[in-house]
């Protein structure tokens, strides 16, 4: 029989989620106060807001096809006016919910209340987890998903439960829609799954075992290819587009120290991944040693713990990640799943476990501190002291557009920070609306305002309006006058 939570237990879980949420929100407010801003979080928020404010969904302009992950997040962004936290609410909520679920799992696994609280706090303050919760990327949701996935896989290893197979299959498919990094993790995990599957089943029909777990993923990929083909005419449009999330750090590879050192390689970054694992998550080795001594599926659990290190190699080889922490932060989920599975002898304390967790926190902090990726440096810096603002120009333009609310044409791919500074996308004609396509394909003069970045700037180079109308920024167009010109941004307004 499934254990049911008592109302007291349910309240405890809600309390954990809320208190963790408040804790991370406070931390994030401090970082925002120190001028932290996550480009990815802002971009995601603006894209989803644009889709929602467009009022209707149209296949050919639905960003969900190219940024499949975003479609999953849309409901969270519908919460109005939660700025400045709005862009980060998904991350904070995901980690808070994860910790609450973990609290419940620990309770069922026999941990006492004090033990649970101590464990929750240690994990919650592990730098990798804090980074997932407050950096605004997809890491937080991935962390939650990976925890559930590993729980399911461990149930396959130990119980062979059918629901665990279903859960593992569906979670893997879902993972693909949540975070593009799933490709690199699952590409390594799927072959490794052979180790987890009960030997009887494997002997009977090895390919069938993989079908059972991999079929939802296969269906998800096939669906994605189909959607891209239907809406963009190219099944691989999600890879070939300049704006594809699947490109990861490739467009900026040259400015990323990690990719500069290891980009295009597999062995060395994978080896580095294992070193990172040892430094940042030594508790995993302790737990695996305990599993080995107890004979509790040690080999499969070692494979389960180590495959992310190989994923680091793969993701570096394809220039996807800018830092190994993007993958290795997710190891926290595996640690959490393993702690739930950790079987103590009667009367045994968790002192050693706590000790390894503390050592891991220190190691984790060290890894975060020595990471030179600009995104991590900015996040880390904002924890310590105020950072220099780099978005004054977009903020200024956003505020100006907020004061001059006319129908405005803007490319969100280049101008998302401007839109974020404006606060919403109402009245903006963006690439996700039908009207945008009509305007740029012949009826441009019907719009009140046109926003353009300097074609020589980073934003200007990817701006679609600049590409379609190369002389517009410099010379404007008949019937329009230059209404705004500052810091590499211009706005032409209808006369």
């Amino acid at each position: 029989m499934m254990k049911r939570y008592s109302s007291y237990a349910a309240i405890s879980l809600i309390a954990v989620a809320v208190s963790m949420g408040l804790l991370y929100a406070t931390l994030l407010l401090w970082q925002l106060h120190n001028n932290y801003s996550s480009d990815l979080a802002v971009y995601n928020w603006v894209t989803v807001r644009a889709l929602l404010d467009a009022g209707s969904l149209h296949g050919e302009s639905d960003a969900g096809m190219l940024y499949g992950q975003l479609a999953m997040l849309a409901p969270f962004y519908m919460v109005p006016k939660l700025l400045p936290l709005g862009q980060y609410i998904v991350s904070i909520a995901a980690v808070s919910v994860l910790l609450a679920i973990w609290y419940g799992d620990l309770s069922r696994a026999g941990y006492g209340r004090v033990e649970r609280i101590v464990l929750i706090l240690l994990l919650a303050f592990t730098p990798a987890v804090v980074w997932c919760a407050t950096s605004g990327g997809a890491g937080a949701l991935s962390l939650l998903l990976l925890y559930l996935l590993h729980k399911a896989i461990l149930r396959i290893v130990h119980e062979g439960d059918i629901r665990a197979y279903i859960a593992a299959g569906v979670l893997m498919a879902l993972f693909l829609y949540i975070d593009a990094i799933a490709i690199y993790l699952l590409a390594i995990l799927l072959p490794v799954l052979v180790i987890f599957i009960p030997i009887k089943q494997l002997k009977g029909a090895p390919h069938s075992s993989l079908i059972i777990i991999g079929l939802p993923l296969l269906i998800a990929v096939a669906s994605w290819l189909y959607f891209n083909w239907v809406f963009y005419g190219d099944p691989l449009a999600f890879l070939s587009s300049d704006h594809s999330a699947f490109l990861g750090a490739r467009p900026e590879a040259e400015s990323m120290p990690w990719l500069f050192a290891y980009g295009g390689e597999f062995i060395r970054p994978a080896a580095m991944g294992i070193i990172y694992l040892a430094v940042g998550f030594p508790v995993l080795f302790y737990l695996l040693w305990k599993a080995y001594r107890g004979g509790h599926g040690a080999i499969s659990r070692i494979a389960l713990a180590c495959y992310p290190a190989l994923s680091v190699g793969l993701a570096t080889m394809t220039f996807y990640i800018y830092s190994p922490l993007q993958v290795l932060a997710l190891l926290s989920a595996i640690v959490m799943a393993e702690i739930v599975r950790y079987r103590r002898r009667p009367g045994e304390t968790i002192a050693a476990l706590l000790l390894f967790l503390v050592i891991g926190m220190i190691g984790n902090g060290y890894l975060v501190a020595r990471d030179r990726a600009p995104q991590i440096e900015a996040w880390r810096g904002a924890l310590q002291h105020p950072q220099e603002r780099h978005d004054n120009s977009t903020k200024k333009l956003g505020q100006w557009l907020d004061e001059h609310r006319l129908t405005t044409l803007i490319d969100l791919h280049s101008g998302y920070k401007v839109v974020a500074a404006r606060g919403d996308t109402l009245g903006l004609i963006n690439p996700y609306s039908d009207r945008y396509k009509l305007l740029v394909h012949g009826a441009l003069s019907e719009v009140d305002q046109i926003v353009l970045p300097d074609p020589d700037s980073d934003a200007g180079r990817i701006d679609e309006l600049n590409r379609l109308f190369p002389e517009l920024y410099d010379f404007g167009m008949p019937g329009y006058h230059l209404a705004y010109d500052a810091d590499g941004w211009r706005v032409y307004r209808k006369m």
Partner: protein
């Protein structure tokens, strides 16, 4: 003369309840040389275990011919033996009102001799004797005859009555639940009105109407996908499968087990007769407590003759069903049910291979179920799963149905459409509800829903009957079209009063019925249309359909196409998981082709529903090239 049983323990010999005026029955049979010492010894041991009479055991084991036994019984009791064929009873004494007593107690008023009614009986039990005294007076005498003579004579004398009861009991006593009327007047009026409105709407607002219909279909399919996913998730719970454990079966005392009636309807299937009889002999159940009816059509001479030639044990009784319309399995079962003597009754098809402990498991399941559980369905699967592509797909489908869907319906208290065989009933309640609907070609599915509507519970037990999967396409289409037609009949019957049905089944039960019965039919009928639109669009790139696929509908349809159908394929791949038939999993990828075959059968069923609603598309069994050894080894492999 030296008593040849003197060396047997007396305690065992004295257990012979037939101890009559001419010594003990076992002794008599032994002295006459009709049985040997070992047989008597074993029979006496079985008697202690099973708690039945020695004679029943000897007949059940086939160690003594029935005729010899009844002659000896007469001798043993000091009564005359009467051959009812050569000395037929007086028809004036026969009464249809007493039929149930004749068949259950195996008595028949024979003649009036010296002013006293003399009754022929095959089993001089205390119950039978007290019935005779009560019915015909304390001065009544009796003679001994064979139970087969009684059954045959009852059939001959009450043929028309029994046949009429088999055909019309339900339609006369509970017409609202009979499929004799395919569409009710209200249903026809409703369909007419609805179609008129839709056509009018199409004429006035063609695009909007088609969009609305499209949206309705898309949402329906979406919910159907979700419903099936829910069922699989519920049934995937490990605890749902532990209904009756081996320990619970072992704890059952044989002498406390009830008499079990086993109905085996057959038609022109002489080749599989030995298979089912062997399977029944193989039951882990006291054979002398089995009341087995081989239900054969009177004009099926070849199967009747085969049954005779097999020289079956005394527990097998042949019931000849007179030819009358409709010629359906439920009618034949209704006919034979009037001869049933068990506390429980079950049905097996001729080619079935039930697991040996199935009857015991069902008894245990009934005992641990609530009193309102009146039928328990065993799981069905195929022994020739790997014969060809069709049997593999059929096995995937059947496994999903019986291993996942039905247990989940049971758990969610949604009406369970019973499977064609291996459903086990409480006989008393089955008779109360007028048994099967002879006009419904999936009478089992209908009965499951009818039971739920009457606030009875239908359970599922963790025991499997292995059947022969249809391995030929033509035969498969015929069988499937019958199933679809039966589902249509069942849906129409139970939707005659939808509000009443809603009140009876409640929210979950009603909507579960809509999706599981209605949804199954609707989806196979609609799917070809949607696939057709998709293929035309794919091949031509036409924009003709754009208007009826506004964004919302397009998204739902696209989701259904890719993820909904993908989900069904995934569920199908899981279906054989519980049986560890992992080799079949890759075949789940062929599900869409199998669905097309189902649609083909569904359209045939729809045609037949209008033109030949009661026509029974016979499934030919015994055609599998899988030999018995192969079937045995496969089943053993699964059991490991």
């Amino acid at each position: 003369m030296m008593n040849e049983v003197d060396d047997l323990p007396m305690a065992m010999v004295s257990d012979d309840v037939f101890g009559g005026i001419n010594g003990r029955m076992g002794n008599l049979l032994l002295v006459k040389g009709l049985i040997n010492k070992e047989q008597l010894h074993e029979a006496l041991q079985l008697q202690q275990r099973w708690g039945t009479r020695l004679g029943d055991i000897l007949l059940a084991k086939g160690w003594v011919r029935a005729l010899d036994f009844y002659h000896t019984l007469a001798n043993h009791l000091g009564k005359e033996y009467v051959d009812l064929f050569s000395e037929p009873p007086d028809g004036q004494l026969f009464s249809n009102d007493d039929l149930s007593h004749y068949t259950e107690l195996l008595v028949l008023p024979w003649r009036v001799v010296n002013g006293r009614v003399t009754v022929a009986l095959a089993d001089p039990s205390e119950e039978a004797l007290s019935y005779i005294r009560e019915r015909y007076g304390s001065e009544t005498d009796y003679v001994i005859t064979s139970k087969f003579d009684i059954i045959w004579l009852v059939q001959r004398n009450a043929d028309k009555y029994l046949d009429t009861m088999a055909r019309f009991a339900l339609s006369e006593r509970d017409p609202e639940h009979s499929a004799l009327m395919v569409f009710s007047v209200k249903q026809l009026a409703g369909v007419y009105l609805l179609l008129s409105l839709v056509l009018l709407s199409i004429a006035l607002w063609p695009v909007n109407t088609l969009i609305a219909l499209n949206l309705l279909i898309s949402l329906g399919l979406l919910l159907n996908f979700g419903f099936r996913a829910l069922l699989v998730w519920v049934a995937a719970d490990a605890s749902i499968d532990v209904k009756v454990s081996d320990e619970e079966v072992a704890a059952l005392a044989d002498d406390e087990l009830p008499t079990y009636t086993v109905l085996v309807p057959m038609y022109k299937e002489p080749e599989v007769l030995p298979i089912i009889t062997a399977a029944i002999r193989n039951f882990d159940y006291p054979l002398s407590k089995l009341d087995i009816k081989l239900i054969l059509e009177e004009d099926d001479h070849i199967t009747v003759q085969t049954a005779k030639d097999l020289g079956l044990e005394g527990i097998f009784e042949i019931i000849r069903v007179p030819p009358s319309q409709p010629r359906t399995k439920p009618k034949a079962c209704n006919y034979a049910l009037q001869f049933a003597r068990g506390e429980y009754v079950t049905i097996y098809d001729a080619e079935d291979r039930p697991e040996p402990d199935q009857l015991k498991k069902v008894v245990a399941a009934f005992r641990k179920s609530s009193d309102d559980t009146v039928v328990i369905q065993a799981r069905l699967n195929y022994f020739n799963a790997e014969e060809n592509w069709l049997t593999r797909m059929f096995t995937l489908e059947y496994s999903l149905w019986f291993d996942f869907y039905l247990p989940a319906l049971d758990a969610l208290k949604i009406p369970i459409p019973l499977g064609g065989t291996s459903n086990h009933f409480r006989l008393e309640v089955l008779r109360q509800v007028q048994a099967w609907d002879p006009y419904n070609v999936t009478e089992d599915a209908d009965l499951g829903v009818r039971y739920t509507g009457l606030n009875y519970r239908v359970g599922v037990v963790n025991s499997t009957t292995y059947e022969e999967a249809n391995s030929r396409l033509g035969s498969w289409i015929r069988q499937r079209s019958r199933w679809h037609k039966g589902y249509m009949q069942t849906y129409l019957v139970h939707m005659r009063h939808p509000i009443d049905l809603y009140r009876t089944l409640g929210h979950v039960g009603f909507w579960g019925f809509q999706f599981f019965i209605g949804g199954t039919i609707a989806s196979v009928l609609i799917a070809p249309l949607l696939w057709g639109i998709f293929i035309v669009w794919l091949m031509t790139g036409t924009h003709e359909f754009d208007q009826i696929f506004p964004p919302l509908v397009l998204y739902i349809s696209t989701f259904n196409l890719m993820l909904g159908n993908g989900l069904l394929i995934y569920l199908s791949s899981f279906s054989v998981f519980k049986r560890r038939l992992y080799r079949l999993i890759p075949y789940s990828l062929f599900s869409p082709i199998y669905w097309l075959l189902m649609s083909w059968a569904a359209f045939k069923a729809l045609w037949q529903l209008v033109h030949a609603p009661f026509y029974w598309e016979k499934t030919q069994h015994g055609v599998s090239r899988f030999n018995q050894e192969r079937a045995d080894s496969q089943i053993e492999q699964v059991d490991e």
